[in-house]
């Protein structure tokens, strides 16, 4: 109210009341008060913490991270035994969290885009079915979905014992698909790839194929622009696949090892196995987040004005090219910001992993380690720090991408 003041008198004197009444100083006053308050609150909480810890006779230290964890983890991508440290157990959890988040984001995007496009389909039945899917998943808590899907996966899979021959002594109840694949209630079994001698050459052949295919596409485009002649697209695939196939046939360095149903009485041994907890959580998070992404995609496509479609059609573009070249690039700008926050949500929702027995960071560091050591304060702080870093990193990466596709304003 007193923001209008006489410039003359101000140069002459600075009165204390100006700290409150002069807009030029009032901001400083408020900030100063806010800062003092924050410092006061922090100090108060800190003092409470110190005195509470002293009363309980506890100390604040991260030394326990170096002690042996003592427990086993069912899915560890780095070598881990019960004698490894708590820190390593936490790392196993970190990797598992990132793994399920990465795969979840990919499948959620596929499901979401498909459902979002189909919901706009002119096919009445399909559009309604997608609407039911989206509403059912958006309006029910993710924890309930994780529990339900966990139960479905547990009940629908066969028991691995049904595939076992027990050292050849019994006839198995079911055969594995091609002797190589089996979906059980403990996981999905498939052959493992062995890297024999010379596998580097096969890998190089694969890279050469990719580079070659890429060059052929460029050559196609150049010829098209230069002479208007459209070269066939099928050589791309041959260039891509041929080198690696030839290298493998000549060297035979890659081999498959089939899952072994004989040697153990309880489980299929060997092969590559994707554990049931992972499958359940991955499925639940993908389908749940997919429903949200579908809504974003639908909104994005609807945000592109109909005139764009019509103009593109008037230029003589075919429907697929209209979608690829006109609609999607414009829709993407609307879709990507909410998509980023869906990825973040998925990563954060993966912290419910323990509901299906998946050993993510919340289950190892924030669960078993916390229980065993009783270091609640330390574990929870570390856990929050981890998620904070992940969230900020995902935001940063996606913001860079977002900036690269953003509308270039001139």
């Amino acid at each position: 109210m007193a923001s209008i003041s006489d410039p003359q008198s101000q140069q002459d004197s600075f009165r204390l009341s100006m700290l409150l009444n002069d807009t030029r100083y009032r901001g400083l006053t408020f900030q100063f008060i806010a800062l003092i308050l924050i410092i006061f609150v922090m100090a108060y909480l800190g003092m409470n913490l110190v005195s509470n810890l002293a009363t309980a006779g506890l100390t604040f230290s991260y030394d326990f991270l170096g002690d042996p964890a003592g427990y086993d983890i069912n899915q560890a991508l780095i070598s881990y035994t019960s004698q490894s440290t708590h820190l390593r157990a936490a790392f196993v959890g970190v990797i598992n969290t990132l793994l399920v988040a990465l795969f979840g984001c990919i499948t959620a995007t596929i499901i979401g885009v498909t459902a979002g496009v189909l919901r706009l389909s002119k096919n009445w039945l399909v559009a309604k079915l997608m609407a039911v899917y989206v509403e059912a998943f958006r309006n029910v808590p993710v924890l309930i979905w994780i529990l339900i899907i966990g139960t479905i996966v547990t009940i629908s899979g066969a028991n691995p014992r049904a595939f076992l021959t027990r050292g050849g002594s019994v006839e198995p109840e079911s055969e594995m698909l091609f002797g190589a694949f089996a979906f059980t209630n403990r996981g999905f079994y498939s052959p493992a790839v062995n890297f024999g001698p010379g596998w580097i050459i096969v890998l190089l052949a694969l890279i050469a194929g990719i580079v070659g295919a890429f060059l052929w596409r460029r050559h196609m485009r150049k010829t098209l622009y230069a002479s208007g002649k459209l070269l066939p697209g099928w050589p791309t695939w041959i260039i891509l696949i041929a080198p690696v196939v030839i290298a493998q046939l000549v060297l035979g360095s890659l081999s498959l090892s089939m899952p072994d149903v004989e040697s153990n009485n309880f489980n299929i041994q060997g092969g590559t196995v994707i554990g049931k907890p992972f499958i359940a959580l991955w499925l639940a998070l993908s389908v749940y987040t997919g429903a949200f992404i579908a809504e974003n995609v639908r909104a994005g496509i609807m945000a592109v004005s109909k005139g764009q479609t019509e103009a593109a059609a008037a230029l003589g573009l075919r429907p697929r090219r209209v979608m690829n070249l006109v609609i999607l690039p414009q829709a993407l700008r609307v879709i990507i910001p909410p998509l980023i926050s869906q990825y973040l949500n998925l990563t954060k929702n993966s912290s419910l992993a323990i509901a299906v027995g998946y050993a993510d960071i919340t289950a190892t560091l924030g669960g078993i380690t916390l229980n065993q050591t009783g270091k609640a304060l330390e574990c929870v702080l570390l856990l929050m720090l981890f998620y904070l870093v992940i969230s900020l990193a995902i935001s940063a990466i996606m913001n860079v991408y977002n900036a690269s596709v953003a509308l270039k304003e001139r």
Binding site: K122, L129, V140
Partner: protein, 432 residues
């Protein structure tokens, strides 16, 4: 005009021809089917696929639902009644544990009418806020509601609620008297007045604890779906004002205040709710003054409110940013100071366009209240995963219980999101 036409064209129709019925082969159910479901081979495949999916879902679901057993005292009895290999579900668990699912296992059964009444009143109180056509006079109910709901749900003497309300009213009167002389003065004087009334009220309630007293019910006796509703409603209401303050702080030109708000918002949004609940559960106690002890439900309310306010702040920030620059400049050119321009010009508009976003946050938050089951609170999911599934009678009944929980949440959340969409349509027409 007709002259020019008369020179250039031979014939001009001067009256409309009535609408003709569409050609016979363009109407009817079969045509609708062909147009919408089988217009080309790709759509036909999609349609058949969709039909198959629907068949699979319904063939599993309908026998389960329709063949269900509703009267039994345990899962064993269910199995006996249904007979061998029956597909029907054991819904008897719902009828037997109905009250536990809704109210938790230790809320006194003779007091069930109280939260029920509070829920009905909530609908009345929320109506004038949610629907512009409802008479404004009902806003009185909205104002009184928090206090009435507290009195109904927790019980105790009515004086507590009355005194708390009185404090708010006195504070508001003082504020409105003084606000002309500056917002800060009015605000702090109002708060001071309210605190004085509450202080006096504290002595009065302590002296007369039995005036119109309902049986006091401890917070930890609350559970079931009621707990989800209480947590959702309380935390969303509390987080609204905090969210507004945070959003304004983040938009502020004062760097320190801005950075405090940014750090708070980004920190909260960067971590999952479950870690904040762990904080409420195992860490927060260490930060409270020695010798005090907040009950778990209060700690959880604190953390969920912080969580919700960060998200609501971001929604409102979006609303603030969406306002045209001219509104800010217009307010300034009228000579309004910051508090006045925000209060009278900016916030009413920004909040209005933020409502759909706020409703979405509220739905998400309400769904997230199920996470409290992980920290040993017996909300709807906690009741199912804890006492009900652990009991010998109902061990093994999963689908019915989870299905029921999903159904309850679906009803509430779908209703709210339909409202949100309706509101968006209302708001969209306003601009045309």
């Amino acid at each position: 005009m007709s002259d020019t036409h008369a020179e250039s064209v031979a014939y001009v129709r001067e009256t409309f021809v009535g609408e003709q019925p569409p050609p016979a082969q363009e109407t009817g159910a079969l045509i609708w089917l062909r147009k919408n479901l089988f217009s080309n081979w790709f759509y036909s495949i999609l349609t058949l696929l969709a039909l198959y999916v629907i068949y699979v879902l319904l063939s599993g679901f309908l026998p389960w639902l329709l063949g269900g057993v509703w009267e039994a005292s345990s899962i064993r009895e269910c199995r006996e009644i249904a007979g061998e290999g029956a597909a029907g579900g054991c819904f008897a668990v719902l009828s037997e544990r109905w009250n536990q699912l809704l109210f938790g296992f230790s809320y006194p059964s003779e007091a069930y009418w109280r939260p029920t009444l509070a829920l009905v009143l909530l609908a009345v109180a929320a109506a004038p806020v949610l629907f512009p056509k409802v008479p404004r006079a009902l806003l009185i109910v909205t104002l009184i509601y928090p206090f009435a709901a507290y009195y109904l749900i927790w019980g105790g003497t009515i004086l507590i609620a009355v005194m708390a309300l009185l404090g708010v009213i006195v504070g508001y009167i003082v504020y409105s008297r003084l606000v002309d002389r500056g917002f800060a003065l009015g605000f702090f004087a109002g708060v001071a007045a309210a605190i004085i009334v509450w202080q006096i009220g504290g002595f009065i309630t302590a002296a007369a604890p039995n005036v119109l007293a309902l049986t006091e019910i401890q917070s930890r006796d609350m559970g079931g779906f009621m707990l989800n509703l209480i947590l959702g409603v309380v935390c969303v209401s509390l987080s609204l004002p905090i969210g507004i303050v945070l959003a304004l702080g983040r938009q502020s030109s004062l760097p320190i205040i801005k950075w405090i708000c940014v750090v708070f918002i980004e920190f909260i949004r960067g971590v999952p709710l479950i870690t904040l609940l762990f904080v409420a559960n195992v860490v927060l106690a260490y930060f409270l003054p020695p010798g005090t002890n907040f009950d778990l439900i209060l700690r959880v309310i604190i953390m969920i409110t912080m969580f919700a306010s960060a998200y609501i702040a971001e929604v409102i920030r979006g609303g603030l940013a969406a306002l045209p620059r001219g509104q800010y400049e217009g307010a300034e050119s009228l000579g309004l100071d910051y508090a006045q321009s925000m209060r009278l010009i900016i916030l009413p508009q920004a909040l209005k366009i933020s409502i759909p976003g706020i409703v979405n946050v509220a739905v998400g938050l309400f769904k997230d209240t199920t996470l409290v089951s992980i920290i040993s609170m017996f909300d709807l999911v906690g009741m199912i995963r804890g006492p009900i599934l652990a009991s010998q009678d109902w061990n093994g009944v999963y689908w019915e219980l989870y299905g029921f929980a999903a159904f309850l949440f679906f009803i509430v959340c779908y209703g709210i999101s339909q409202y949100s969409q309706w509101l968006e349509r209302q708001l969209a027409t306003d601009h045309r």
